[in-house]
């Protein structure tokens, strides 16, 4: 029980509530993620994977049900509390390596720390450099995102997601936009992170070769979990 990071209880999500095109996308999800989980979330397009991940990342709110983070119920929290919890406990990686173009790779990695504590101290800078080194980009830390390849940008995004030392890293099709070689590298990086940073990983992927390498696979079909292992 103390191993639990996140627990979803009867979690539902509807869009366009109260309108004629109201649609329920998630129909009561029950799910528990533990400290050392390395999980793949798979399912056909439109099955609700991104919706689920956004809710787990506290970017979006469920219509009903409850999400516990470190045993703490989150549905009653206001935006600021959820923002702070997100900044502290969760890292996010998107399909399209979303970096801020106006900042260098290093500053992008520093961003979660700066947003949390203001002007970064030496410790924060060292940490950001170490993370860039961990993703193999120590030499490119001053480059702007548009001076990096897709795979490099995605690795910067991963380093950024790790900046606050999150307990859970959520990745929405992090390799979906990469060629298969970069995809392999990025996937290996997630593996390395999970073992070296004590950080649970949940990643959405369409690639059966990648999901096969995960410890656990969650199958989402039409907003329901099917044979979760």
């Amino acid at each position: 029980m103390s191993n639990e990071i996140m627990r979803l209880k009867a979690l539902k999500k509807s869009y366009n509530i109260g309108m004629p095109n109201e649609v329920e996308v998630l129909h009561g999800i029950n799910l528990t993620l533990s400290v050392d989980d390395f999980t793949a979330l798979v399912g056909p397009s439109g099955s609700g994977k991104s919706t689920l991940l956004n809710i787990m990342g506290l970017l979006d709110q469920p219509t009903s049900g409850e999400l516990y983070l470190h045993g703490q119920a989150t549905s009653a929290m206001d935006d600021l509390e959820r923002t702070q919890l997100r900044g502290r406990a969760l890292g996010f990686v998107f399909q399209f390596h979303h970096l801020i173009q106006a900042f260098s790779a290093l500053d992008n990695v520093l961003m979660p720390l700066m947003l949390h504590q203001g002007k970064p101290d030496n410790e924060a800078r060292d940490r950001a450099r170490a993370l860039l080194a961990a993703v193999g980009l120590e030499k490119l830390s001053d480059r702007r995102p548009n001076q990096l390849s897709g795979g490099q940008q995605q690795r910067v995004a991963i380093a950024r997601a790790l900046a606050t030392n999150p307990a859970l890293l959520l990745a929405d099709e992090p390799t979906g936009n990469l060629d298969s070689k970069s995809a392999e590298e990025v996937f290996a990086l997630f593996r390395k992170i999970q073992s070296e940073h004590d950080c649970a990983v949940l990643l959405v992927t369409h690639d059966p070769r990648l999901s096969a390498q995960c410890d656990r696979t969650i199958n989402l079909v039409d907003g329901r979990i099917v044979d979760a292992l």
Binding site: T83, F92, H98, I100, Q101, L115, K119
Partner: protein, 403 residues
């Protein structure tokens, strides 16, 4: 403060990245601020000049004996009284107890000068020429604090000893006299008296230069038949725009007729306040268009940066932080724009003062610059409020998906 550091860094990075927009809106703000500062300085300079000229030759407040009126016999309640009265001719009378009044006024700190004066009509005779003049009997030390006569002397000495007078340049010309000439003064009281012209002044107001004859208070008193009396007390106040309220309070206290320069120059004051009103309208409307410029540039920027706002939110930025990032951008537009604008207006003022018509000098008050820069910065923040709120309230999920 350390918390705001990150918002600063992001705001500045955004501004630098949107170089063209930043540049253009900064120029826009600068032009607006330059117009505001220049027009304000111009009008301030113009009005200060007009007031200075007006007040250079007159007291801020004059205290006079109230007019004599007919006293009517009181009638019982309910009785209608028909009165057929002739208004009384106003003879020259002295202000009662003027020494005590002057002593009391000397104590008041809001007054910078108090000068008792005896003033009355006379005729000047020289040969065939006759001119009607106003005798102004003064104590030189006191009167000079009201009108700095030494600044207006064109020839002779500033001296009003026994049988010495100062006359205006126009009168000198009318009579064909110079310093050292003698003229005869007739007040209709006793036998006329011959005096020496010690000096000639030019106040720059034709009417005064043709009519004023300054002489010693005692001598004027005896010539006008008002031994020991004065007819006017001239006052100067520290803040000229408080003259009217001070005049009213002194009028109540002394029971004298009390006229401030604001009352006696009401036409001028009306003109000046109409001018100020139109200047303020220009300032307000230029300010509004600057504000709309900033608001529209930031609105566009919020749309352009929707995705980045979403990323920042996902990376741990709170709504408040996003709000501040955009408010700061508005503030920076206002700040930088106004700094450039102030510099430009300095250049304009310099050109005006150096090559302009030279009618008057435009000073640029430091307070005006501080006010312009801080108002522009505040305007920037206010203008940014709506776009910043919209940025803060973007749904992060929608924003990230935005292309």
């Amino acid at each position: 403060m350390n918390k705001l550091w990150t918002e600063w860094v992001i705001a500045i990075a955004f501004l630098r990245e949107g170089r063209m927009q930043t540049f253009m809106i900064t120029i826009g703000v600068a032009v607006g601020v330059a117009v505001i500062v220049f027009v304000s300085a111009l009008i301030q300079g113009l009005q200060a000049n007009v007031i200075e000229r007006t007040l250079g030759t007159q007291a801020h407040i004059r205290l006079l004996q109230p007019d004599e009126v007919n006293r009517l016999v009181p009638v019982p309640e309910g009785v209608v009284q028909f009165v057929n009265e002739d208004k009384r001719a106003q003879r020259l009378r002295s202000i009662n107890n003027w020494q005590q009044i002057v002593a009391a006024l000397d104590e008041r700190t809001e007054l910078t000068a108090v000068s008792p004066i005896v003033s009355g009509p006379a005729l000047v005779l020289r040969g065939e020429a006759i001119s009607s003049v106003a005798l102004v009997g003064i104590t030189l030390e006191r009167y000079q604090q009201i009108v700095p006569l030494q600044d207006y002397m064109v020839s002779g000495r500033l001296s009003i000893g026994a049988d010495e007078v100062l006359i205006g340049s126009q009168l000198a010309q009318d009579l064909g006299v110079r310093v050292g000439s003698k003229i005869r003064l007739d007040t209709g009281q006793q036998e006329s008296r011959v005096v020496n012209i010690a000096g000639i002044f030019e106040l720059g107001v034709r009417e005064l230069d043709a009519r004023y004859v300054y002489l010693d208070l005692r001598q004027a008193q005896s010539m006008l038949g008002l031994i020991g009396g004065v007819t006017v007390i001239d006052l100067r106040v520290a803040d000229i725009f408080t003259a009217e309220s001070i005049a009213q309070s002194i009028g109540r206290l002394t029971q004298l007729r009390s006229e401030s320069w604001i009352m006696t120059n009401s036409q001028l004051m009306n003109a000046l306040s109409a001018q100020s009103l139109s200047t303020n309208m220009i300032i307000v409307f230029v300010g509004i268009s600057v504000a709309f410029g900033i608001a529209s540039v930031l609105s566009v920027s919020v749309v352009q940066r929707t995705r980045e706002i979403g990323i920042l939110r996902a990376t741990g930025a709170s709504q408040q932080q996003i709000l501040r990032v955009f408010l700061l951008q508005g503030a920076l537009f206002g700040l930088f724009g106004s700094i450039f604008g102030v510099a430009a207006s300095y250049a304009l003022v310099w050109v005006f003062n150096t090559f302009g018509p030279g009618l008057f000098y435009i000073p640029v008050a430091q307070s005006l610059i501080v006010a312009a820069v801080s108002l522009a910065t505040i305007t920037g923040v206010i203008a940014a409020a709506i776009p910043a709120r919209r940025a803060a309230q973007l749904d992060p999920v929608e924003a990230i998906r935005y292309v």
